[in-house]
């Protein structure tokens, strides 16, 4: 898509083919209350909640504003249009793979193609330095987070089990869990054989109608974008709400620079849209571009007053990048599995997130059932070096394949970081260089998980079991929150220590990453930030 759609006081209606909804518009020279860069789990949630409080909000997204019903094909290759496919350079001992795995470029951000797994942190993780002896403490209490998790789960109509086997009690999930597919039941059998609990995964796709969303039809193209709107992405939840509350969202608007004034306050954002660089004035700037684009923008905005980039007096902007380990074991089952049916991760085992005995490492992991589509599956097989006739033979087992895959915690390390490369992108902006290496603890965690899952898969009847050792997912850190300006970039309210009207609200602020998918926590943080901004504004301290 070449030209922005959100203009002339209307925006695409995601629920109707060719439809439009009214949208408020602000002139660039009007100083709005908030300009938010990014409309994913962090930005869209915050835009909605702030607009609902009556703030004037403009949100920018580099990606397009799609109408899923008519523009999302059932096709892995075509749907790469949802991914951030602008070049990034990856190095370090374990160079990351980016793109579809972890980065979205669309209104709605990565939630448009996420796997919908909506998990809460283990409460202890918010104080993992004090309680568990690793990482860094969060400046937020878990009980407060529990409240915001409730809010997000309601807002997204999460379909989850009646009783979740791990962690403190929570409100009942608003929707019932989905029927389990054969792949999910393989995990269940394995977990039972290993003597651990298992559960239907709480998912952000509805199991019964919700508003204009029909129930999930189990088409299985979730990570290529949901063409039915059953998936409760930011695109179909927070963003329509934000529009209704008077927010303006500008698609195909790439932020290139945050301007600051002589007294060191942010004054607005320079962005590229419809062939020209423009400038939106704002009283507050929120960066919500996820753990690569957020530090990139802060570093790109360096000026004479902030030569190392904005909000970077601690020197930590771009550092402590944390992915999650995403290793798997795969096996062939006697029975037909046909994992392409239904959401890919319908069942989960969080045992090793909550059990600390028997570990020779810090942190935890969850593992989930899998349902790769053909190209994704071929790529996984390529990863073990297979090609030619050997690969064809393996691919013939596609419908009998089952796998267990972790979302594993990695520790924050300053050497894992985002910096600016010399190469420039299509906007003329230096691209991100991403440096990553697992530490020994990460490797021990991975080894533990592979060993455990191998036994579980075998107990479930898996044959020809092999280990996939090379994958990672999710991006966090690079602008961590904390109590101390010297060791963190933002405070508990996601407000930068250095520039009081600059906020960061996405996965970048995570001091640690836990062993669960981050989207629910990002949205909970955004809801909390909105409430905190409300309180701060009430005191006249905004």
């Amino acid at each position: 898509m070449q030209h922005p759609r959100a203009r002339d006081r209307r925006a695409p209606d995601v629920f109707r083919k060719g439809g439009w909804v009214p949208m408020r518009e602000y002139p660039c020279d009007e100083e709005v209350d908030f300009v938010i860069v990014g409309t994913g789990a962090g930005g869209a949630t915050l835009a909605c909640r702030l607009a609902e409080q009556g703030f004037k909000v403009v949100a920018l997204d580099a990606g397009a504003w799609w109408r899923p019903l008519e523009e999302f094909a059932s096709d892995e290759a075509h749907q790469q249009k949802l991914y951030w496919t602008d070049e990034r350079i990856c190095d370090g001992e374990n160079p990351l793979k980016m793109g579809g795995n972890n980065s979205g470029k669309a209104v709605g951000g990565s939630t448009v193609h996420f796997a919908m797994v909506s998990l809460r942190f283990r409460p202890e993780w918010f104080k993992c330095r004090s309680l568990l002896g690793y990482g860094a403490d969060w400046p937020i209490d878990w009980r407060e987070m529990w409240h915001y998790y409730d809010e997000v789960e309601q807002a997204l109509s999460i379909a989850g089990p009646i009783n979740y086997p791990w962690g403190p009690p929570r409100k009942r999930y608003p929707y019932r869990s989905h029927e389990l597919n054969a792949a999910a039941l393989v995990l269940a059998r394995g977990a039972e054989a290993m003597g651990t609990a298992w559960s239907a995964t709480p998912l952000a796709t509805v199991s019964a109608p919700q508003g204009k969303s029909p129930p999930c039809v189990y088409r299985g193209f979730c990570v290529a974008g949901c063409a039915t709107n059953a998936k409760q992405s930011a695109l179909v939840t927070w963003i329509p709400r934000a529009l209704k509350a008077g927010a303006e969202i500008r698609d195909l608007a790439m932020a290139g620079r945050i301007e600051t004034n002589d007294v060191g306050r942010a004054v607005g954002v320079e962005y590229f849209r419809d062939g020209a660089w423009r400038f939106q004035r704002a009283r507050n700037v929120v960066v919500a571009g996820y753990a690569i684009e957020t530090p990139r923008l802060l570093l790109l905005s360096a000026n004479h007053r902030f030569p190392d980039g904005l909000a970077n007096s601690s020197g930590l902007v771009g550092k402590n990048l944390m992915v999650q380990s995403n290793q798997a074991v795969w096996g062939v089952m006697d029975e037909e599995i046909r994992g392409y049916k239904g959401p890919p991760s319908l069942s989960i085992n969080e045992h090793w997130n909550y059990e600390d005995k028997g570990k020779d490492f810090f942190g935890g992991y969850a593992y989930m059932s899998q349902g790769p589509l053909p190209a994704g599956w071929a790529s996984t097989q390529n990863g073990r070096g297979l090609w030619g006739a050997e690969l064809s033979r393996e691919m013939q087992k596609y419908n009998h394949q089952a796998g267990l895959k972790i979302v594993g915690e990695t520790l924050p390390q300053e050497r894992n970081r985002v910096t600016l490369a010399d190469e420039k992108d299509q906007y003329g902006l230096p691209i991100a260089r991403i440096t990553y290496a697992f530490c020994d603890n990460d490797k021990k965690l991975i080894a533990h998980s592979l060993h455990f899952m191998e036994q579980a898969l075998e107990a479930a009847g898996g044959k020809e079991i092999w280990r996939q050792e090379d994958d990672t997912c999710h991006l966090n850190g690079t602008a961590r929150m904390g109590d101390d300006p010297r060791t963190s970039v933002v405070n508990a309210d996601c407000r930068s220590w250095d520039i009081p009207n600059l906020w960061i609200c996405d996965g970048s602020v995570f001091p640690t990453v836990g062993g669960v998918n981050p989207s629910l926590t990002i949205q909970a943080i955004a809801c909390r930030t909105a409430d905190r901004i409300h309180a701060i504004a009430q005191r006249g301290e905004l």
Binding site: S157, P161, I162, N163, P165, P174, Y175, R176, S177, E179, L180, L185, A188, R189, E192, A197, W198, S199, A200, S207, A208, P209, Q210, P214, P215, V217, T228, A230, S347
Partner: protein, 315 residues
């Protein structure tokens, strides 16, 4: 996924058992005289209890139609993996025709073929419940909410049992004298009212479970768990207290009957709301809200009206 839901299942089973007791006892007991008390002479009114029996035949027939359609869809969804999955289709078809036949039959005597068909339906309902229980327990997770939601529905075969039960009761009733007919040691009107009451509660259990699965996403989904239980209570009251005119009960039963038809409309709309709507029927009919299910309330309410009418003539 170890949520234990024994209490719900026990409840369902208890209700099924009640319905079962009514039918089996009714079906098994040898017909009592006096058969000579046939009242078919022209110009004479059809006795109350025969009229009630015919209405029970009709209700059984409607219920059987609902079972036929529902089990056809559900077992098609289950790919008829087990040949036994054809049994409810056969049994419900037979019950349907037996009911039509019985609905026009004014004879004061049970019809052996019809009676046999109803007994078959009742047995098929019981065996089916057994199969469905087995299906739930053999699944990974066993007695979990997820299996109760998505494995073979425990309450579904009970509808077949109810259809057989209503029909069999009707047949039993025909063998009774016109004066003071009795069933199961109580006035026939009371027995019929209790059977309907139990049937309503059993059906409510099933609907409650499935609407809970649907997260009661539409306010109308509460109606079938509120209106029929009241009808069931009113039927129990009708059975257990002195007979008298009960316009409120009649009104409520009519409401319940209407609810069944309205429910079908809501379910049709539910299918239209699914992705692809009616054009995607091959998915949305088996996966969407079950179109043939709600009329079972209509069938039971109509039987309730017949029971009520009979009960009002009793002392």
């Amino acid at each position: 996924m170890k949520q234990r839901v024994r209490s719900d299942t026990t409840m369902l089973l208890a209700l099924g058992g009640m319905a079962l007791a009514t039918t089996v006892l009714g079906a098994r007991k040898p017909a009592r005289p006096p058969r000579q008390a046939l009242r078919r002479q022209a110009g004479r009114e059809i006795p109350m209890h025969i009229a009630a029996a015919s209405r029970f035949n009709h209700s059984s027939s409607l219920l059987a139609l609902s079972v036929l359609a529902d089990s056809a869809v559900e077992h098609y969804r289950g790919s008829f993996k087990n040949p036994a999955m054809f049994i409810p289709l056969v049994s419900a078809s037979l019950s349907f025709f037996a009911g039509l036949h019985g609905g026009h039959d004014r004879r004061a005597a049970s019809h052996p073929v019809r009676h046999g068909i109803y007994a078959f339906a009742a047995v098929a309902g019981i065996v089916g419940t057994g199969f469905h229980i087995y299906n739930v327990t053999k699944r990974t997770g066993g007695w979990s909410w997820n299996n109760l939601f998505y494995a073979a529905p425990l309450g579904a075969p009970t509808a077949l049992l109810l259809s057989g039960g209503l029909g069999a009761i009707g047949e039993r009733l025909r063998d009774q004298p016109a004066e003071d007919p009795h069933l199961l040691g109580m006035p026939a009107g009371s027995a019929l009212a209790l059977a309907v009451s139990a049937g309503l509660l059993g059906t409510v259990g099933e609907v409650g479970l499935l609407h809970f699965r649907g997260a009661f996403q539409h306010p109308a989904m509460y109606a079938p768990v509120i209106i029929p239980p009241v009808a069931a209570a009113l039927m129990a009251q009708t059975a257990l207290t002195r007979p008298r005119p009960r316009p409120r009960t009649r009104w409520w039963l009519r409401l319940t009957a209407g609810l069944g038809l309205l429910g079908m409309g809501f379910h049709a709309r539910g299918i239209a709301r699914c992705q692809g709507g009616w054009r995607n029927w091959s998915q949305n009919i088996p996966s969407g809200p079950p179109l043939p299910a709600p009329p079972s309330f209509t069938a039971l309410a109509l039987a309730g009206l017949a029971a009520l009418r009979l009960r009002q003539t009793e002392k």
